[in-house]
Amino acid sequence: MSLLFYLAAFVAVISTVAVILQSNIVHALIYLILSLLSVAVIFYVLGSPFAAVLEAIVYAGAIMVLFLFVIMMLNLGQHTRDQEKQWLSLKGWIFPCLLAGVLLFQLVSVLSSYDLNMAPETVGVLEVSALLFGPYVLAVELASILLLAGLISAYHLAKK
């Protein structure tokens, strides 16, 4: 199981690096889907099968298809690809990478002082949905209102 975790983590990191380095936007999107699917495998290994399935369906399915539709609507061709290559200069990368590297170093140094193992048991759909429609039912209602607001504003914004 732990081999599966490290393998999926490796794939996730490599494909995310490919997303932020890619100049072709559709290729970047496909790499992002690969990254999300490997994160879904990690969720499954960590004993959250419901979250893994939702990650595959909602993130890698619905949200990425939305991205794909918009990219097709914008019709970004060869011109944009050349522009992207021009923008990907080394000069603009060094400073943000340095800052982000400092942040990551601090995070790793804080986290490596812990010495805890993850509980290997699986928390299935039953436990999650019993909590979701028990104590957290207000959060579900608020999430539905948020989605409705997102739907209406997306319709309004994309209208001609």
Partner: protein, 102 residues
């Protein structure tokens, strides 16, 4: 079955978050910026799932569901805004937005 140390999961979430941050800071195409924001949201969801796996509770998965909902709503609004921006300026370069004054 051997167990995975919690900090490895959290460090993976941190690496993915930092990669998304680099993407937000360096890319000039607004679609890439939105994709990098998705990477960052997904990394925070991964951190919640790692915490859920540490304690063996379902609350972490519920927080992940909330993040998922937030990401879906945010992407819908963000892509609508991108479409409006493309109609107005005929480009996806974020530096043209500095002309939006007054």
């Amino acid at each position: 079955m051997e167990t995975i140390p919690t900090e490895h999961g959290l460090i993976l979430a941190g690496i993915l978050f930092v990669l998304g941050l680099i993407g937000v800071l360096t890319r000039r195409n607004i679609v890439f910026v939105l994709m990098s924001l998705e990477i960052m949201l997904n990394a925070s969801g991964l951190a919640f799932i790692v915490a859920a796996a540490r304690w063996g509770h379902a609350e972490g998965q519920i927080m992940f569901l909330m993040i998922l909902t937030l990401a879906a709503a945010e992407v819908a609004v963000g892509l609508g805004l991108i479409i409006q921006m493309y109609r107005k300026f005929q480009t996806v370069d974020i530096s043209v937005l500095s002309e939006m004054k007054g």
